[in-house]
């Protein structure tokens, strides 16, 4: 098994985290770099401004001295002009040392060239003054002025350029900030996309298979045992789980099939055995009957009463054996859906009364008193013999588990239903046994020293339900077992076979 699922979940998360970390780191680095750039440029600009102010002052001062030189023809002024010019040249060299960038450097170089041209013009002017040639002085001064104007124009250009440069830096900074903002937005968008893709991938790789398995489990639990989880070519934990799930389902189906076959074999065995046992028992009953009659004749001749008692016991055991076989045959009919009701208009109250009367001796023997609370009559469309079987089974349970206990038998009518409550005051049924007490071959108390196949309540429930009613076990304080049987007065479900059922008139 490969760790594909872990990769699916953690891989994209780590990738996104790395991507965002690098992106944010890069943006931060850009911001820091820009701040440094602005800081450095601001310092250059500040120094440039100071030098420009000094240059402006020197240019003005020199212009005054040149003007006076021409007017006064005083060569001492020329010395002063030379001194100032040297300062200007030095200052211009200082500009270049600042390394103010290519554009500003261009202006500085122009100033240096202009200053060189001006120096040449100054030399010509001073020569003409020395020689006192008026025309040359005038021409020299004119050229000086032309060059001086150009130099001043370059100076102004540089000055304003410096201002524009700062403005440009601010604008560029704002532009870069906007760009960074856009970049961050795009990065977040990209991160979000990666997140969505990762979520989609995880959903596809993890959630979808889990959903498929949940759906398959529901289908299987609802009886669709053919359902399987679709397998893919992936090699991850979920794929292993899906394979295990399908394998488990296969095993479940195999076990279920085996169970069904076992139950079917058991039912067949019960059915066959019951029928096979019935034949010799019937013959045995007949023989015992003959023997009984002959014994009675012999008894009159003074035969042994001990043999007669043995015959009685044999008859009783035979009867009991017949009852057991009847129960087994009923179970078999129920299993195969062949339990047939013979409905007729039946008075449940009368049925109960006749039953009590018929079992009077046995009730007395078992010291069980039945207290019947019932209306005058409670008539419904029922199979009387099967309802009698229900009551007998309940009564036999009392004989077995609560001998000597009184029984309250209440009959009443609620709406369209007849209700029969059968209550004894014996030990009752434990809570943990109540759920399975109506199952076949189940007995609430297994070590009570009583015999039986555990089919009585199962047959009760089946007969009542075939009638369209229901039976439930009530839990009441200070009471033994309380059974409530509901029987529809008019059967909602028509009996499947009614060929011998009396027609309602």
């Amino acid at each position: 098994m490969k760790l594909g699922l872990a990769n699916k979940i953690f891989g994209p998360s780590i990738a996104i985290l790395t991507f965002l970390t690098l992106s944010i780191g890069y943006t931060g680095f850009e911001f820091a770099r820009e701040s440094e750039l602005i800081k450095a440029n601001s310092e250059i600009s500040h120094r440039l401004n100071a030098m420009l102010a000094e240059l402006q002052q020197l240019l003005n001062e020199r212009q005054v001295h040149v003007h006076l030189l021409v007017q006064e023809r005083d060569l001492i002024r020329n010395e002063r002009v030379i001194t100032i010019s040297r300062k200007i040249s030095k200052l211009l060299d200082g500009f270049l040392d600042l390394k103010p960038g290519p554009a500003a450097g261009k202006y500085v170089r122009r100033l240096i060239k202009g200053e060189r041209d001006l120096s040449k013009a100054r030399k010509e002017l001073s020569s003409s003054i020395v020689s006192s040639r008026e025309a040359e002085i005038l021409r020299g001064y004119t050229f000086w002025r032309i060059r001086q104007e150009k130099l001043l124009a370059d100076f102004q250009d540089m000055n304003i350029y410096n201002i524009r440069w700062i403005e440009g830096l601010v604008r560029s900074s704002e532009g870069r900030r906007l760009q960074s903002f856009r970049l961050i937005l795009w990065l977040f968008f990209a991160g979000f996309c990666l997140l969505l893709m990762s979520a989609a991938s995880v959903s596809k790789g993890v959630i979808r298979p889990i959903r498929q398995m949940t759906l398959a489990a529901r289908r299987i639990s609802s009886g669709d045992l053919e359902t399987r989880v679709a397998l893919s070519t992936r090699e991850d934990e979920l794929e292993s789980l899906a394979r295990a799930f399908n394998s488990m389902t296969e095993h479940l189906i195999a076990a279920n099939t085996q169970l069904r076959e076992a139950i079917q074999s058991r039912d067949q065995f019960i059915s066959v055995a019951s029928h096979e046992l019935r034949t010799p028992l019937t013959a045995l009953g007949l023989q015992l009957g003959i023997m009984g009659r002959e014994m009675s004749a012999i008894q009159k001749d003074g035969s042994s009463s001990r043999t007669a008692r043995a015959m009685t016991v044999a008859n009783r055991q035979l009867h009991r054996l017949n009852q057991l076989i009847d129960d087994l045959l009923d179970v078999s009919r129920i299993q195969h859906g062949k339990l047939i009701l013979r409905r007729s208009s039946t008075d449940l109250v009368l049925l109960c009364q006749e039953l009590i009367e018929r079992f009077q001796d046995q009730l007395a023997a078992e010291k069980v008193e039945i207290r019947l609370q019932a209306p005058e009559a409670l008539i419904g469309w029922w199979d009387a013999s099967r309802l009698e079987q229900v009551l007998v089974n309940l009564l036999f349970n009392v004989f077995k588990y609560a001998p000597g206990s009184p029984v309250d038998l209440r009959l009443f009518c609620t709406g369209d239903d007849a209700i029969l409550v059968f209550q004894d005051y014996g030990p009752g049924i434990k809570a943990e046994d109540q759920r399975r007490v109506f199952d076949q071959f189940e007995r609430s108390v297994k070590d009570f020293g009583v015999s039986g196949l555990g089919l009585g309540l199962f047959i009760v429930r089946e007969i009542v339900e075939i009638h369209g009613g229901g039976v439930r076990l009530l839990q009441e304080e200070n009471a033994g077992a309380v059974f409530e049987i509901r029987l529809p007065l008019k059967g909602e479900v028509e009996p499947p076979i009614k060929e011998d059922a009396p027609q309602a008139t």
């Binding site: 050229f143 124009a153 250009d157």
Partner: protein
């Protein structure tokens, strides 16, 4: 139709929203027409490079060119409405302004020291500007050549009246020199290099370090204001051309250099640093100097013009603000 996954639709929508937030909504631009009066001179290389490299069309401008022999003619074309903008040097602009025309300057293109020169036939005996006295000097009046000659003569201590000026178009210079109709000419590139190449050692060249030629883009002010958007895009194209020149100075103008070499036999005379778009005090200063000269020699009346008012910095301000180093006159 194939089914589009929901995740893809969501992502596409989010992408569009993010793109809109970060870039804003831009409407598609259609090319605007602009008529440009051109002059075959290497000093306008920035414009020619922009035309060659498609900088104008890339900025949504469809240029129609009309060729003129001189900048003076191109400016005249612009003032007459033949073109929207013209390539021109500063002298015709100053003259037009003194004549009362409403000239607008969009941008200077270069600052050239060696663009114009005096060429003299050796057999004429001219060895310097001083020797021009009573000689026949050919030039196109009303162009920068006139101011160049003025400065040269002024340096030599002689006046215009001492020289016999012959007003002649540049296309006629060579023939006039060969016929010995002229002793010297004042001419600019590329005709300057062409003439030097043609006459070889029979001709001499004389420069003046006082004169700075400033080629520019100008036109009739009112017309420029009518086509503001087109002019802005035009300037954007110029800025792109200059940016390429700055980023790749050795390969910039390659075609123009080769063409110059082919036609003149001489090396392209300028460096990348000589070309720059912008509006600056140097331009105003040169125009002021020329205006003073013209008013004195041509007898123009009226107040001295303020050449700052000719500048139209709004276009460069929008596209390349650092190139404007004059205080806004608006």
């Amino acid at each position: 139709m194939p089914r589009i996954p929901k995740v893809a639709l969501v992502l596409a929508t989010l992408g569009m929203i993010t793109f809109t937030v970060t870039n804003g909504l831009h409407s598609p631009t259609s090319a605007l027409p602009l008529r440009l009066g051109i002059v075959n001179a290497a000093s306008y290389s920035i414009v020619f490079a922009a035309l060659n490299e498609g900088d104008f069309s890339n900025n949504g401008i469809a240029i129609t060119t009309r060729e003129y022999e001189t900048g003076k003619d191109a400016l005249r074309g612009a003032l007459d409405g033949e073109v929207d903008l013209a390539m021109v040097y500063e002298t015709p602009v100053v003259l037009a302004s003194l004549d009362g025309h409403h000239v607008g300057i969009v941008s200077a293109l270069a600052r050239l020291e060696d663009d114009t020169a005096l060429l003299s036939m050796k057999k004429s005996g001219i060895r310097s500007f001083e020797d021009l006295r009573h000689k026949r000097v050919g030039l196109t009046l009303g162009t920068s050549a006139e101011f160049f000659l003025y400065l040269g003569l002024r340096g030599a201590g002689i006046s215009f009246t001492d020289v016999k000026i012959v007003d002649i178009d540049p296309s006629e210079f060579v023939t006039a020199l060969e016929r010995s109709d002229l002793d010297a000419i004042v001419i600019w590139e590329p005709q300057l290099s062409e003439t030097l190449n043609r006459f070889g050692n029979r001709i001499s060249r004389y420069d003046s370090d006082l004169y700075t030629a400033i080629p520019m883009i100008a036109g009739r002010r009112e017309r420029i204001l009518e086509v503001t958007e087109a002019v802005t895009r035009f300037v954007r194209g110029l800025a792109d051309s200059e940016a390429r020149l700055r980023s790749k100075p050795h390969v910039a103008f390659k075609e123009i250099r080769e063409q110059f070499k082919k036609s003149t036999g001489k090396k392209f005379p300028w460096n990348a640093g000589d070309f720059e778009i912008g509006l600056n005090n140097q331009l105003v200063t040169v125009m002021n100097q020329e205006a003073r000269w013209l008013m004195r020699t041509r007898g123009f009346q009226g107040p001295f013009p303020d050449f700052n008012e000719l500048l139209m910095p709004q276009f460069l301000d929008e596209v390349f603000p650092q190139s404007v180093t004059v205080l806004d006159s608006r």
